[in-house]
Protein backbone atom coordinates (compact mmCIF):
# COMPACT_ATOMS: atom_id res chain seq x y z
CA UNK A 1 0.00 0.00 0.00
CA UNK A 2 2.75 2.48 0.93
CA UNK A 3 4.63 1.69 -2.28
CA UNK A 4 1.45 2.33 -4.25
CA UNK A 5 1.09 5.79 -2.67
CA UNK A 6 4.73 6.55 -3.39
CA UNK A 7 3.95 5.84 -7.04
CA UNK A 8 0.65 7.71 -7.26
CA UNK A 9 1.47 10.96 -5.43
CA UNK A 10 4.31 12.09 -7.71
CA UNK A 11 2.14 11.28 -10.73
CA UNK A 12 -0.68 13.41 -9.33
CA UNK A 13 1.74 16.27 -8.74
CA UNK A 14 3.03 16.02 -12.28
CA UNK A 15 -0.48 15.91 -13.75
CA UNK A 16 -1.64 18.88 -11.71
CA UNK A 17 1.31 20.99 -12.72
CA UNK A 18 0.85 19.96 -16.37
CA UNK A 19 -2.75 21.12 -16.32
CA UNK A 20 -1.69 24.40 -14.72
CA UNK A 21 0.53 25.11 -17.72
CA UNK A 22 -2.22 24.80 -20.33
CA UNK A 23 -4.11 27.87 -21.49
CA UNK A 24 -7.07 28.46 -23.79
CA UNK A 25 -6.24 30.00 -27.14
CA UNK A 26 -9.43 31.23 -28.84
CA UNK A 27 -9.56 31.13 -32.61
CA UNK A 28 -12.27 33.32 -34.07
CA UNK A 29 -13.53 33.48 -37.65
CA UNK A 30 -14.91 36.66 -39.13
CA UNK A 31 -17.07 35.87 -42.11
CA UNK A 32 -17.39 38.79 -44.50
CA UNK A 33 -18.60 39.66 -47.95
CA UNK A 34 -16.12 42.28 -49.08
CA UNK A 35 -16.29 45.03 -46.49
CA UNK A 36 -19.53 43.79 -45.11
CA UNK A 37 -19.70 41.59 -42.02
CA UNK A 38 -21.81 38.55 -42.77
CA UNK A 39 -24.27 37.22 -40.25
CA UNK A 40 -27.29 35.41 -41.58
CA UNK A 41 -29.87 37.55 -39.85
CA UNK A 42 -28.27 40.65 -41.37
CA UNK A 43 -28.63 39.64 -45.00
CA UNK A 44 -31.34 42.25 -45.45
CA UNK A 45 -28.56 44.79 -45.06
CA UNK A 46 -26.35 43.25 -47.74
CA UNK A 47 -25.00 45.91 -50.07
CA UNK A 48 -27.10 45.84 -53.21
CA UNK A 49 -24.86 44.79 -56.04
CA UNK A 50 -25.83 44.26 -59.63
CA UNK A 51 -26.39 40.60 -58.92
CA UNK A 52 -28.67 41.14 -55.90
CA UNK A 53 -26.80 38.52 -53.99
CA UNK A 54 -28.20 36.76 -50.93
CA UNK A 55 -26.33 34.25 -48.82
CA UNK A 56 -28.58 31.69 -47.16
CA UNK A 57 -26.19 28.94 -46.08
CA UNK A 58 -22.49 29.08 -45.37
CA UNK A 59 -20.93 26.12 -43.55
CA UNK A 60 -17.47 24.61 -43.72
CA UNK A 61 -15.16 22.34 -41.79
CA UNK A 62 -11.90 23.45 -40.24
CA UNK A 63 -9.69 20.57 -39.12
CA UNK A 64 -6.16 19.60 -38.09
CA UNK A 65 -5.41 22.94 -36.48
CA UNK A 66 -1.66 23.36 -36.03
CA UNK A 67 0.64 26.07 -34.76
CA UNK A 68 4.10 26.46 -36.27
CA UNK A 69 7.21 28.21 -35.05
CA UNK A 70 8.93 29.11 -38.32
CA UNK A 71 9.19 25.67 -39.95
CA UNK A 72 8.69 23.40 -37.00
CA UNK A 73 5.41 22.17 -35.67
CA UNK A 74 4.85 23.70 -32.24
CA UNK A 75 1.40 22.30 -31.49
CA UNK A 76 -1.34 20.18 -33.06
CA UNK A 77 -4.88 20.00 -31.77
CA UNK A 78 -6.09 16.46 -31.14
CA UNK A 79 -9.45 15.36 -32.57
CA UNK A 80 -9.45 18.63 -34.42
CA UNK A 81 -12.77 19.04 -36.23
CA UNK A 82 -14.84 22.24 -36.21
CA UNK A 83 -17.94 23.08 -38.20
CA UNK A 84 -18.12 26.81 -38.82
CA UNK A 85 -21.76 27.63 -39.54
CA UNK A 86 -23.00 31.12 -40.18
CA UNK A 87 -26.43 30.24 -38.82
CA UNK A 88 -24.82 29.25 -35.52
CA UNK A 89 -22.79 32.30 -34.39
CA UNK A 90 -21.23 30.48 -31.43
CA UNK A 91 -19.57 28.08 -33.89
CA UNK A 92 -17.49 30.90 -35.36
CA UNK A 93 -15.18 30.78 -32.35
CA UNK A 94 -13.52 27.82 -30.70
CA UNK A 95 -10.61 27.42 -28.29
CA UNK A 96 -7.64 25.13 -28.31
CA UNK A 97 -5.66 24.27 -25.17
CA UNK A 98 -2.00 25.07 -25.67
CA UNK A 99 1.01 25.05 -23.33
CA UNK A 100 1.38 28.41 -21.55
CA UNK A 101 4.57 29.81 -23.02
CA UNK A 102 4.30 28.29 -26.47
CA UNK A 103 6.09 30.14 -29.24
CA UNK A 104 4.41 30.24 -32.61
CA UNK A 105 4.33 32.53 -35.60
CA UNK A 106 2.00 30.68 -37.98
CA UNK A 107 -1.32 28.87 -37.87
CA UNK A 108 -2.19 26.10 -40.31
CA UNK A 109 -5.41 24.17 -40.80
CA UNK A 110 -7.36 22.16 -43.33
CA UNK A 111 -10.51 23.44 -44.88
CA UNK A 112 -12.38 20.18 -45.07
CA UNK A 113 -12.02 16.67 -43.65
CA UNK A 114 -9.06 14.41 -44.38
CA UNK A 115 -9.43 11.14 -46.24
CA UNK A 116 -8.80 8.85 -43.26
CA UNK A 117 -11.56 10.46 -41.22
CA UNK A 118 -13.80 10.16 -44.26
CA UNK A 119 -13.54 6.36 -44.22
CA UNK A 120 -13.46 5.81 -40.47
CA UNK A 121 -17.16 5.34 -39.91
CA UNK A 122 -19.66 7.58 -38.23
CA UNK A 123 -18.52 10.08 -35.64
CA UNK A 124 -20.18 12.55 -33.35
CA UNK A 125 -20.09 16.21 -32.43
CA UNK A 126 -19.39 18.44 -35.42
CA UNK A 127 -18.81 15.33 -37.55
CA UNK A 128 -22.28 13.90 -36.86
CA UNK A 129 -24.20 13.40 -40.13
CA UNK A 130 -27.18 15.27 -38.64
CA UNK A 131 -25.17 18.45 -39.26
CA UNK A 132 -26.11 18.06 -42.91
CA UNK A 133 -22.51 17.97 -44.11
CA UNK A 134 -22.32 14.32 -45.17
CA UNK A 135 -23.34 13.00 -48.56
CA UNK A 136 -25.89 10.29 -48.01
CA UNK A 137 -25.76 8.70 -51.44
CA UNK A 138 -22.00 8.46 -51.81
CA UNK A 139 -19.83 8.30 -48.70
CA UNK A 140 -17.96 11.46 -47.90
CA UNK A 141 -18.02 14.72 -46.06
CA UNK A 142 -19.06 17.96 -47.66
CA UNK A 143 -16.11 20.22 -46.91
CA UNK A 144 -17.82 23.46 -47.79
CA UNK A 145 -21.43 24.43 -48.39
CA UNK A 146 -22.57 27.73 -49.83
CA UNK A 147 -26.17 28.37 -50.87
CA UNK A 148 -27.96 31.53 -51.76
CA UNK A 149 -29.71 33.51 -54.43
CA UNK A 150 -28.47 35.60 -57.29
CA UNK A 151 -30.37 37.17 -60.16
CA UNK A 152 -27.64 35.83 -62.43
CA UNK A 153 -28.76 32.25 -61.78
CA UNK A 154 -31.37 31.00 -64.21
CA UNK A 155 -32.64 28.45 -61.72
CA UNK A 156 -35.83 28.08 -59.73
CA UNK A 157 -35.86 30.91 -57.18
CA UNK A 158 -32.47 32.03 -58.59
CA UNK A 159 -30.83 29.54 -56.27
CA UNK A 160 -27.17 28.59 -56.31
CA UNK A 161 -25.80 25.65 -54.35
CA UNK A 162 -22.13 24.81 -54.02
CA UNK A 163 -21.42 21.64 -52.06
CA UNK A 164 -17.71 21.01 -52.31
CA UNK A 165 -16.40 17.67 -51.17
CA UNK A 166 -14.49 14.61 -52.27
CA UNK A 167 -11.58 12.90 -50.56
CA UNK A 168 -10.29 10.50 -53.20
CA UNK A 169 -7.54 11.36 -55.67
CA UNK A 170 -7.89 12.96 -58.20
CA UNK A 171 -10.97 14.71 -56.80
CA UNK A 172 -9.71 15.52 -53.35
CA UNK A 173 -11.08 18.86 -52.27
CA UNK A 174 -9.09 19.17 -49.07
CA UNK A 175 -7.20 22.45 -48.87
CA UNK A 176 -4.49 23.64 -46.51
CA UNK A 177 -4.49 27.19 -45.25
CA UNK A 178 -1.38 28.66 -43.68
CA UNK A 179 -1.45 32.14 -42.16
CA UNK A 180 0.80 34.38 -40.09
CA UNK A 181 -0.08 34.46 -36.38
CA UNK A 182 2.83 35.90 -34.44
CA UNK A 183 2.13 34.93 -30.83
CA UNK A 184 -1.41 36.19 -31.34
CA UNK A 185 -3.93 35.63 -28.62
CA UNK A 186 -6.76 35.30 -29.67
CA UNK A 187 -6.18 34.51 -33.33
CA UNK A 188 -8.65 36.24 -35.64
CA UNK A 189 -9.10 34.82 -39.12
CA UNK A 190 -11.03 36.59 -41.83
CA UNK A 191 -12.94 34.62 -44.43
CA UNK A 192 -14.10 36.81 -47.31
CA UNK A 193 -16.59 34.85 -49.37
CA UNK A 194 -16.81 37.59 -52.00
CA UNK A 195 -13.51 36.46 -53.49
CA UNK A 196 -14.96 33.00 -54.00
CA UNK A 197 -18.21 34.23 -55.50
CA UNK A 198 -16.43 36.62 -57.84
CA UNK A 199 -14.30 33.76 -59.17
CA UNK A 200 -17.41 31.93 -60.41
CA UNK A 201 -19.50 32.84 -63.42
CA UNK A 202 -22.92 32.36 -61.82
CA UNK A 203 -24.58 32.58 -65.19
CA UNK A 204 -22.77 29.46 -66.39
CA UNK A 205 -22.28 27.56 -63.11
CA UNK A 206 -24.86 27.61 -60.34
CA UNK A 207 -24.47 24.25 -58.59
CA UNK A 208 -21.99 21.57 -57.67
CA UNK A 209 -23.28 18.54 -55.81
CA UNK A 210 -20.61 15.85 -56.08
CA UNK A 211 -16.85 15.29 -56.15
CA UNK A 212 -15.33 16.50 -59.42
CA UNK A 213 -12.44 18.39 -60.98
CA UNK A 214 -14.64 21.48 -60.92
CA UNK A 215 -15.17 21.11 -57.17
CA UNK A 216 -11.42 20.86 -56.67
CA UNK A 217 -10.85 24.04 -58.70
CA UNK A 218 -13.43 25.95 -56.69
CA UNK A 219 -11.97 24.76 -53.41
CA UNK A 220 -8.64 26.17 -54.53
CA UNK A 221 -10.29 29.60 -54.89
CA UNK A 222 -11.54 29.26 -51.32
CA UNK A 223 -7.98 29.20 -50.02
CA UNK A 224 -7.59 32.82 -51.15
CA UNK A 225 -10.60 33.81 -49.04
CA UNK A 226 -8.81 33.22 -45.76
CA UNK A 227 -6.61 35.98 -44.39
CA UNK A 228 -5.66 37.74 -41.18
Amino acid sequence: MKSLLLLIIPLLVVFRSQSKRLINLPIAFQLVLGNFSLLLNDTSNLPQTNENLNIETLKFYISKVQLYQIDSLAFEEQLSFHLIDISNPSSLKFSIKIPKNLSYNRIQFYMGIDSITNVSGVMGGDLDPIKGMYWTWQSGYINFKLEGKSKLCKTKNNLFQFHLGGYQIPNSCLQTINLEALEEHPIFIKMDIEKFIKSIDLVKLNHIMSPSAEAVKLSEYLVTCFSK
Binding site: N118, G121, V122, G124, D128, P129, G132, W137, S139
Partner: protein, 342 residues
Protein backbone atom coordinates in the same frame (compact mmCIF):
# COMPACT_ATOMS: atom_id res chain seq x y z
CA UNK B 1 -8.68 -9.79 -0.47
CA UNK B 2 -7.56 -7.67 -3.44
CA UNK B 3 -6.63 -10.78 -5.36
CA UNK B 4 -10.11 -12.21 -4.80
CA UNK B 5 -11.67 -8.99 -6.11
CA UNK B 6 -9.37 -9.03 -9.15
CA UNK B 7 -10.12 -12.67 -9.86
CA UNK B 8 -13.84 -12.13 -9.51
CA UNK B 9 -13.72 -9.12 -11.88
CA UNK B 10 -11.81 -11.20 -14.42
CA UNK B 11 -14.41 -13.94 -14.13
CA UNK B 12 -17.26 -11.48 -14.72
CA UNK B 13 -15.36 -10.00 -17.66
CA UNK B 14 -14.90 -13.37 -19.32
CA UNK B 15 -18.49 -14.26 -18.61
CA UNK B 16 -19.69 -11.15 -20.44
CA UNK B 17 -17.11 -11.68 -23.20
CA UNK B 18 -18.40 -15.20 -23.60
CA UNK B 19 -21.96 -13.89 -23.95
CA UNK B 20 -20.84 -11.37 -26.57
CA UNK B 21 -19.60 -14.27 -28.65
CA UNK B 22 -23.26 -15.22 -28.93
CA UNK B 23 -23.59 -12.13 -31.08
CA UNK B 24 -20.33 -12.03 -32.99
CA UNK B 25 -17.58 -14.52 -33.74
CA UNK B 26 -15.04 -15.20 -36.47
CA UNK B 27 -15.90 -18.51 -38.18
CA UNK B 28 -13.05 -21.00 -38.38
CA UNK B 29 -10.56 -20.29 -41.19
CA UNK B 30 -12.22 -16.99 -42.10
CA UNK B 31 -10.09 -13.88 -42.57
CA UNK B 32 -10.04 -11.09 -39.99
CA UNK B 33 -13.02 -8.73 -40.15
CA UNK B 34 -12.56 -5.44 -41.96
CA UNK B 35 -14.90 -3.49 -39.66
CA UNK B 36 -13.03 -1.57 -36.98
CA UNK B 37 -14.73 -2.72 -33.79
CA UNK B 38 -12.51 -0.52 -31.65
CA UNK B 39 -14.50 2.49 -32.88
CA UNK B 40 -17.83 0.80 -32.11
CA UNK B 41 -17.39 -1.98 -29.52
CA UNK B 42 -20.32 -4.38 -29.42
CA UNK B 43 -22.68 -4.43 -26.47
CA UNK B 44 -25.91 -6.34 -25.94
CA UNK B 45 -27.86 -3.12 -25.38
CA UNK B 46 -26.56 -1.39 -28.50
CA UNK B 47 -27.33 -4.47 -30.59
CA UNK B 48 -30.86 -4.54 -29.18
CA UNK B 49 -31.36 -0.85 -29.96
CA UNK B 50 -30.01 -1.43 -33.47
CA UNK B 51 -32.46 -4.26 -33.98
CA UNK B 52 -35.38 -2.08 -32.93
CA UNK B 53 -34.27 0.62 -35.35
CA UNK B 54 -33.81 -1.92 -38.15
CA UNK B 55 -37.40 -3.08 -37.85
CA UNK B 56 -39.03 0.28 -37.15
CA UNK B 57 -40.60 2.24 -40.02
CA UNK B 58 -40.00 5.40 -37.97
CA UNK B 59 -36.93 5.79 -40.20
CA UNK B 60 -39.20 6.68 -43.12
CA UNK B 61 -41.04 9.90 -43.89
CA UNK B 62 -44.55 8.49 -43.60
CA UNK B 63 -43.79 5.72 -41.11
CA UNK B 64 -44.33 2.90 -43.61
CA UNK B 65 -40.90 1.67 -44.67
CA UNK B 66 -38.33 0.11 -42.36
CA UNK B 67 -35.01 -1.53 -43.22
CA UNK B 68 -36.76 -4.88 -43.15
CA UNK B 69 -39.16 -3.75 -45.89
CA UNK B 70 -36.36 -4.49 -48.34
CA UNK B 71 -34.22 -6.68 -46.10
CA UNK B 72 -36.35 -9.48 -44.72
CA UNK B 73 -34.75 -12.15 -42.48
CA UNK B 74 -36.54 -14.99 -44.26
CA UNK B 75 -34.99 -14.03 -47.59
CA UNK B 76 -31.43 -13.71 -46.26
CA UNK B 77 -32.18 -10.04 -45.64
CA UNK B 78 -33.14 -9.11 -49.14
CA UNK B 79 -36.69 -9.32 -50.41
CA UNK B 80 -38.15 -11.75 -52.88
CA UNK B 81 -40.64 -11.22 -55.68
CA UNK B 82 -39.30 -7.78 -56.47
CA UNK B 83 -36.82 -7.18 -59.25
CA UNK B 84 -36.47 -3.55 -58.17
CA UNK B 85 -36.99 -2.56 -54.57
CA UNK B 86 -39.76 -0.14 -53.68
CA UNK B 87 -40.08 2.45 -50.96
CA UNK B 88 -42.59 4.91 -49.56
CA UNK B 89 -45.89 5.36 -51.43
CA UNK B 90 -44.88 2.48 -53.72
CA UNK B 91 -42.08 4.40 -55.40
CA UNK B 92 -39.86 2.02 -57.32
CA UNK B 93 -36.10 2.28 -57.19
CA UNK B 94 -33.49 1.33 -59.74
CA UNK B 95 -31.92 -1.71 -58.15
CA UNK B 96 -32.64 -4.94 -56.31
CA UNK B 97 -31.76 -4.82 -52.61
CA UNK B 98 -28.71 -6.97 -51.82
CA UNK B 99 -28.62 -9.62 -49.08
CA UNK B 100 -27.21 -8.65 -45.72
CA UNK B 101 -24.84 -11.09 -44.06
CA UNK B 102 -21.22 -11.23 -42.92
CA UNK B 103 -21.03 -7.46 -43.14
CA UNK B 104 -17.99 -7.22 -40.89
CA UNK B 105 -16.06 -8.67 -43.84
CA UNK B 106 -17.54 -6.39 -46.45
CA UNK B 107 -15.27 -3.63 -47.71
CA UNK B 108 -17.92 -1.53 -49.41
CA UNK B 109 -21.71 -1.25 -49.50
CA UNK B 110 -24.19 -0.94 -52.38
CA UNK B 111 -23.96 -2.52 -55.81
CA UNK B 112 -21.63 0.26 -56.95
CA UNK B 113 -19.63 0.57 -53.73
CA UNK B 114 -20.93 4.10 -53.15
CA UNK B 115 -20.78 3.67 -49.41
CA UNK B 116 -17.40 2.98 -47.80
CA UNK B 117 -18.38 2.14 -44.30
CA UNK B 118 -21.19 0.15 -42.78
CA UNK B 119 -21.99 2.95 -40.30
CA UNK B 120 -22.82 5.32 -43.14
CA UNK B 121 -24.88 2.93 -45.22
CA UNK B 122 -28.32 3.59 -43.63
CA UNK B 123 -28.01 7.27 -44.61
CA UNK B 124 -28.54 6.30 -48.25
CA UNK B 125 -31.95 4.60 -47.96
CA UNK B 126 -33.06 6.97 -45.17
CA UNK B 127 -32.50 9.99 -47.41
CA UNK B 128 -33.47 8.61 -50.81
CA UNK B 129 -36.82 10.02 -51.97
CA UNK B 130 -37.82 6.67 -53.51
CA UNK B 131 -36.89 4.65 -50.42
CA UNK B 132 -37.54 6.18 -47.01
CA UNK B 133 -37.76 9.81 -48.06
CA UNK B 134 -36.54 11.15 -44.73
CA UNK B 135 -33.27 12.48 -43.32
CA UNK B 136 -31.06 11.54 -40.40
CA UNK B 137 -31.80 14.72 -38.47
CA UNK B 138 -35.52 14.16 -38.88
CA UNK B 139 -35.15 10.57 -37.67
CA UNK B 140 -33.09 11.65 -34.65
CA UNK B 141 -35.72 14.27 -33.73
CA UNK B 142 -38.43 11.63 -33.84
CA UNK B 143 -36.41 9.22 -31.71
CA UNK B 144 -35.78 11.93 -29.13
CA UNK B 145 -39.50 12.65 -28.89
CA UNK B 146 -40.34 9.08 -27.85
CA UNK B 147 -40.01 7.84 -24.29
CA UNK B 148 -39.65 4.32 -25.71
CA UNK B 149 -36.42 5.18 -27.52
CA UNK B 150 -35.06 7.48 -24.87
CA UNK B 151 -35.08 4.45 -22.58
CA UNK B 152 -33.18 2.27 -25.05
CA UNK B 153 -30.65 4.97 -25.85
CA UNK B 154 -30.05 5.39 -22.14
CA UNK B 155 -29.53 1.64 -21.70
CA UNK B 156 -27.17 1.53 -24.64
CA UNK B 157 -25.19 4.74 -24.17
CA UNK B 158 -25.79 5.91 -20.60
CA UNK B 159 -27.43 8.98 -22.12
CA UNK B 160 -31.00 9.17 -23.39
CA UNK B 161 -30.16 11.74 -26.08
CA UNK B 162 -30.16 10.24 -29.56
CA UNK B 163 -27.64 11.60 -32.06
CA UNK B 164 -26.88 10.66 -35.66
CA UNK B 165 -23.70 8.95 -34.53
CA UNK B 166 -25.38 6.80 -31.86
CA UNK B 167 -28.30 5.88 -34.11
CA UNK B 168 -26.09 4.76 -36.99
CA UNK B 169 -23.63 2.93 -34.75
CA UNK B 170 -26.47 0.99 -33.12
CA UNK B 171 -27.88 -0.08 -36.48
CA UNK B 172 -24.36 -1.16 -37.49
CA UNK B 173 -24.07 -3.26 -34.37
CA UNK B 174 -27.23 -5.21 -35.14
CA UNK B 175 -26.19 -5.70 -38.76
CA UNK B 176 -22.75 -6.94 -37.69
CA UNK B 177 -24.37 -9.80 -35.78
CA UNK B 178 -25.88 -11.22 -39.00
CA UNK B 179 -23.31 -13.94 -39.52
CA UNK B 180 -24.04 -16.83 -41.87
CA UNK B 181 -21.45 -19.61 -41.66
CA UNK B 182 -23.44 -22.72 -40.81
CA UNK B 183 -24.65 -24.03 -44.12
CA UNK B 184 -24.21 -27.64 -45.24
CA UNK B 185 -21.12 -26.46 -47.17
CA UNK B 186 -19.63 -25.13 -43.94
CA UNK B 187 -20.39 -28.36 -42.11
CA UNK B 188 -18.72 -30.31 -44.91
CA UNK B 189 -15.66 -28.08 -44.56
CA UNK B 190 -15.64 -28.80 -40.83
CA UNK B 191 -15.87 -32.53 -41.64
CA UNK B 192 -19.22 -32.74 -39.87
CA UNK B 193 -21.17 -33.71 -42.97
CA UNK B 194 -20.57 -35.00 -46.50
CA UNK B 195 -21.64 -33.76 -49.89
CA UNK B 196 -23.80 -36.09 -51.95
CA UNK B 197 -22.16 -37.19 -55.18
CA UNK B 198 -24.26 -34.66 -57.08
CA UNK B 199 -23.29 -31.83 -54.74
CA UNK B 200 -19.63 -32.84 -54.96
CA UNK B 201 -19.78 -32.78 -58.77
CA UNK B 202 -21.36 -29.36 -58.51
CA UNK B 203 -18.62 -28.17 -56.15
CA UNK B 204 -15.94 -29.20 -58.64
CA UNK B 205 -17.74 -27.37 -61.44
CA UNK B 206 -17.99 -24.34 -59.16
CA UNK B 207 -14.30 -24.42 -58.36
CA UNK B 208 -13.43 -24.68 -62.03
CA UNK B 209 -15.70 -21.88 -63.28
CA UNK B 210 -16.86 -19.57 -60.51
CA UNK B 211 -14.34 -19.57 -57.72
CA UNK B 212 -12.17 -16.64 -58.80
CA UNK B 213 -14.86 -14.04 -58.29
CA UNK B 214 -17.10 -15.95 -55.86
CA UNK B 215 -14.15 -16.84 -53.68
CA UNK B 216 -14.62 -19.07 -50.64
CA UNK B 217 -15.39 -18.78 -47.75
CA UNK B 218 -17.25 -15.49 -48.23
CA UNK B 219 -18.21 -16.48 -51.80
CA UNK B 220 -17.19 -13.06 -53.03
CA UNK B 221 -13.95 -11.12 -53.30
CA UNK B 222 -15.91 -7.93 -52.63
CA UNK B 223 -14.60 -6.52 -55.90
CA UNK B 224 -16.53 -5.11 -58.84
CA UNK B 225 -16.92 -6.89 -62.14
CA UNK B 226 -18.86 -6.85 -65.36
CA UNK B 227 -20.37 -10.34 -65.60
CA UNK B 228 -21.69 -9.86 -69.10
CA UNK B 229 -25.20 -8.64 -68.35
CA UNK B 230 -26.46 -6.67 -71.36
CA UNK B 231 -27.23 -3.09 -70.35
CA UNK B 232 -30.91 -2.51 -69.62
CA UNK B 233 -31.47 0.61 -71.73
CA UNK B 234 -34.47 1.67 -69.64
CA UNK B 235 -32.52 1.74 -66.39
CA UNK B 236 -29.18 2.54 -68.05
CA UNK B 237 -27.34 1.65 -64.87
CA UNK B 238 -23.60 1.86 -65.45
CA UNK B 239 -22.78 0.62 -61.95
CA UNK B 240 -19.40 1.52 -60.48
CA UNK B 241 -18.70 3.99 -63.28
CA UNK B 242 -21.09 6.42 -61.61
CA UNK B 243 -18.80 6.53 -58.58
CA UNK B 244 -15.32 6.44 -60.07
CA UNK B 245 -16.03 8.01 -63.51
CA UNK B 246 -13.44 5.56 -64.80
CA UNK B 247 -14.36 3.96 -68.12
CA UNK B 248 -13.00 0.59 -67.03
CA UNK B 249 -15.70 0.49 -64.33
CA UNK B 250 -18.57 0.82 -66.77
CA UNK B 251 -21.22 -1.86 -66.19
CA UNK B 252 -19.27 -3.21 -63.23
CA UNK B 253 -21.22 -4.19 -60.12
CA UNK B 254 -20.19 -5.67 -56.80
CA UNK B 255 -19.77 -9.44 -56.87
CA UNK B 256 -22.48 -10.61 -54.46
CA UNK B 257 -22.06 -13.48 -52.04
CA UNK B 258 -23.63 -16.77 -53.11
CA UNK B 259 -24.45 -17.77 -49.56
CA UNK B 260 -28.16 -18.38 -49.04
CA UNK B 261 -28.71 -17.94 -52.75
CA UNK B 262 -31.65 -20.32 -52.53
CA UNK B 263 -33.54 -17.67 -50.55
CA UNK B 264 -32.51 -14.48 -52.28
CA UNK B 265 -34.16 -14.51 -55.73
CA UNK B 266 -34.51 -12.66 -58.04
CA UNK B 267 -30.88 -12.33 -59.01
CA UNK B 268 -28.48 -9.63 -60.23
CA UNK B 269 -28.39 -5.91 -59.41
CA UNK B 270 -31.69 -5.36 -61.19
CA UNK B 271 -33.30 -8.65 -60.30
CA UNK B 272 -33.61 -9.72 -63.93
CA UNK B 273 -33.30 -13.47 -63.31
CA UNK B 274 -35.97 -15.24 -61.31
CA UNK B 275 -34.26 -18.63 -61.09
CA UNK B 276 -30.80 -20.08 -60.75
CA UNK B 277 -31.35 -21.91 -64.04
CA UNK B 278 -31.73 -18.57 -65.77
CA UNK B 279 -28.53 -17.37 -64.11
CA UNK B 280 -26.60 -20.40 -65.38
CA UNK B 281 -28.14 -19.95 -68.83
CA UNK B 282 -26.76 -16.41 -68.82
CA UNK B 283 -23.25 -17.57 -67.98
CA UNK B 284 -23.24 -20.35 -70.57
CA UNK B 285 -25.02 -18.68 -73.46
CA UNK B 286 -26.13 -15.15 -72.60
CA UNK B 287 -22.92 -13.20 -71.90
CA UNK B 288 -22.59 -9.87 -73.63
CA UNK B 289 -19.01 -9.38 -74.76
CA UNK B 290 -18.59 -5.72 -73.82
CA UNK B 291 -15.28 -3.88 -73.42
CA UNK B 292 -15.27 -4.15 -69.64
CA UNK B 293 -16.27 -7.83 -69.41
CA UNK B 294 -14.38 -9.59 -66.60
CA UNK B 295 -11.39 -11.38 -68.06
CA UNK B 296 -12.38 -14.49 -66.10
CA UNK B 297 -15.49 -14.71 -68.28
CA UNK B 298 -13.82 -14.23 -71.65
CA UNK B 299 -13.64 -17.96 -72.33
CA UNK B 300 -16.96 -19.69 -72.94
CA UNK B 301 -18.39 -21.72 -70.08
CA UNK B 302 -19.72 -25.03 -71.35
CA UNK B 303 -22.03 -27.07 -69.13
CA UNK B 304 -24.28 -30.00 -69.94
CA UNK B 305 -27.80 -30.00 -68.46
CA UNK B 306 -26.68 -32.57 -65.88
CA UNK B 307 -23.73 -30.42 -64.92
CA UNK B 308 -26.04 -27.43 -64.47
CA UNK B 309 -28.25 -29.47 -62.16
CA UNK B 310 -25.21 -30.57 -60.18
CA UNK B 311 -23.97 -27.00 -59.88
CA UNK B 312 -27.34 -25.86 -58.58
CA UNK B 313 -27.32 -28.76 -56.11
CA UNK B 314 -24.01 -27.43 -54.81
CA UNK B 315 -25.34 -23.87 -54.59
CA UNK B 316 -28.19 -25.12 -52.47
CA UNK B 317 -25.67 -26.37 -49.92
CA UNK B 318 -24.91 -22.72 -49.20
CA UNK B 319 -28.30 -22.36 -47.52
CA UNK B 320 -27.99 -21.69 -43.81
CA UNK B 321 -31.32 -22.40 -42.12
CA UNK B 322 -29.94 -21.43 -38.73
CA UNK B 323 -29.27 -17.98 -40.11
CA UNK B 324 -32.64 -17.68 -41.82
CA UNK B 325 -34.61 -18.73 -38.76
CA UNK B 326 -32.47 -17.25 -35.99
CA UNK B 327 -34.90 -15.58 -33.57
CA UNK B 328 -32.19 -13.09 -32.50
CA UNK B 329 -32.32 -11.59 -36.01
CA UNK B 330 -36.07 -11.31 -36.29
CA UNK B 331 -38.76 -8.80 -35.47
CA UNK B 332 -38.39 -7.67 -31.85
CA UNK B 333 -41.68 -8.02 -30.01
CA UNK B 334 -40.92 -4.88 -27.99
CA UNK B 335 -41.82 -2.88 -31.09
CA UNK B 336 -45.37 -4.24 -31.00
CA UNK B 337 -46.01 -2.98 -27.48
CA UNK B 338 -44.80 0.52 -28.19
CA UNK B 339 -46.63 0.79 -31.48
CA UNK B 340 -49.93 -0.16 -29.88
CA UNK B 341 -49.42 2.29 -27.04
CA UNK B 342 -48.91 5.21 -29.45
Amino acid sequence: MKYKVALFSLFIFFLSAFQLSDYFYIPKNWPEPIYDFSKNPLSKEKIELGRLLFYDPILSKNNTISCTSCHSPYSAFTHIDHALSHGIVDRIGTRNSPTLMNLAWQKSMMWDGAIHHLDMQPLAPISHPDEMGSSIDSVVDRLNSLKFYRKYFYQAYGDSLATGEKTLKAISQFMLTLISANSKYDKVKQSEECFTQQELNGYHIFQKNCNTCHKEPLFTTGDFANNGLPNDTLLNDLGRFKITRDAKDSLCFKIPTLRNIEYSYPYMHDGRFKTLSQVLMHYTSGKHLSKTLAKELEKPIVLTSNEKVDLIAFLLTLSDKEFIFNPKFQFPKELISYKTKE
